[in-house]
Symmetry: C2
Subunit: 305 residues, 2 copies
């Protein structure tokens, strides 16, 4: 354990993921527990944290400890106010919130990011900003997009090491609400999939008519035998992901698109973006560890923090 | 009863509305029953029809009887195939489906309309086409739009007495699915209303970002105290109705916009369209009776039918 140089902890709503990092940020050990902040009763965050990572703290006494995610929300351990974009690693490090443990150790909670679009409407993220910070290590200085697909997908515009701004799309949640709670659900076998129908939905999302009109097209195509229960769900997925991607890409040119995440959903976004003519590369969710390492380095470089 | 010249019956999913019409189509008597096709067991449509209107049939033996609505669907009494747009009153009259009652009387079921947009995606309506036929009586020959707000709103482009095409928007159903089955529901008092928030949602719908992105803005505005439970529902309503109206209006110039329906929802559409710079006039749902009268006249003029 003498080689531990930093500890990172991505503590979200449903799970806690921790990284023991070595010199140069190498990942030495990874832990994951189903101890998201929604599972913590009576604000007993410190007890849960000690239970999850107390042994790491015992054996690496003076290294920086960086927490990120919903643990810094109003419903978390302590609220770390949102930092407004644009922001780079130094800005985020300066906004780290100090928290002193009963054992006499100081740890740090990363702030979320906020952004207002050109019309003044606000947006927020909490946790994703540290993953984006990790992804920025591998991106050049040219304008790029970082996309984190999910229930609430995040699209960040980055350039020259900074997060310029971002937008959240409720795609995953709206897809499920429409599939499970509208007339379209009756014609969808949720377990079925069809790649051609997915791509047809992506294509359709670029036509006139708007999403609300195109959704009824799923029903009408069913009546005319052009979709069935094996294909309608994939078409609906393509329709919604297509609308999201087109809106996100309309924000400006991007030299690269980095996707962060794992599994089927990220694969669908890669397929959708490729269909729209954009190459992507995919980074794992654990890229958060790199972001935490960068924050830890910034802390160490500024001992006054 | 000697003055009955036609009988119309708008028989939908949840209710049956019947009109006894006099010479020149004057409305002599109106009946409404909660006997929609979903309430009819074992296909007992004829018994239900006789129960509802048998006395009218007894006393007006030789007048045309026109049924419209879901009664002509696959789930109804007898399926009247969709007629493809463009279509005028003569086309619809030629496609009336004859149905012979046990009492030895012939009645007629109106077909629905179908349409394929420029991308080839199909759309359908059943029942609304007869309301539109009624509305056409009062519209000029210039291009106009007829909008029937609802769970599935219909927008028809009409010109010179013909329905050129139409689009259905799932706005009402998606609004409810999002309000009742996503994270946004927690911040919405469904009973509250705020006109300024509704108009702010309409405005927002014209900005970049897409509907899926703008939906998350409802949540973020809540976090920043810019929406609360009294205003968030109206803003969400403005957002979705705004997206629908903008997509529908993008289809081409319209000299007039006629709204068909009653109550609060039609008032919201009138307000939204006015905010977008379009004057509207509102016609009652019973305009269906005028459409049925026009079909009845076309029948009488063509005794070979």
């Amino acid at each position: 354990m003498t080689d531990t140089a930093a500890i990172g902890c991505d503590w979200g709503t449903s799970s806690l993921r921790a990284y023991r990092l070595g010199v140069d940020g190498a990942l030495l050990e990874r832990r994951e527990a189903a101890r998201g902040i929604m599972t913590i009763d009576d604000g007993a965050f410190e007890a849960a944290f000690e239970e999850a990572l107390g042994d790491w703290l015992d054996r690496a006494e003076s290294v920086p400890v960086i927490l990120s995610g919903m643990i810094g929300s109003r419903q978390g351990w302590r609220e770390a106010p949102y930092l407004a974009c644009p922001a780079d690693v130094a800005d985020l490090a300066s906004a780290l919130l100090a928290l002193d443990l009963a054992r006499g150790r100081r740890i740090w909670i990363a702030p979320g990011l906020s952004h207002r679009d050109s019309g003044g409407t606000p947006d927020v993220m909490r946790g994703e900003e540290v993953q984006i910070l990790g992804a920025l290590e591998g991106l050049g200085d040219a304008p790029a997009l970082v996309c984190l697909p999910g229930t609430h997908s995040k699209w960040a515009r980055v350039e020259d090491g900074r997060v310029l701004g971002f937008a959240t799309h409720m795609t995953g949640e709206v897809f499920e609400a429409v599939r499970d709670h509208t007339i379209l659900g009756r014609m969808i076998d949720a377990a079925a999939w069809d790649d051609a129908a997915f791509l047809a939905g992506i294509e359709r999302s670029g036509e006139p008519g708007g999403l609300l009109g195109q959704l009824f097209g799923v029903r009408a195509k069913g009546l005319f035998g052009e979709l069935d229960e094996k294909t309608a769900g994939a078409y609906l997925s393509g329709l919604t992901i297509g609308h999201e991607c087109r809106a996100a890409l309309a924000g400006g040119e991007a030299a690269e698109i980095a996707l962060i995440g794992a599994g089927r959903l990220v694969g669908l976004y890669a397929k959708a973006l490729e269909h729209l003519g954009h190459a992507t590369r995919t980074l794992p969710s654990d890229v958060a560890a790199i972001g935490q390492w960068r924050l830890a380095q910034a802390l160490v470089a500024k001992p006054d923090l």
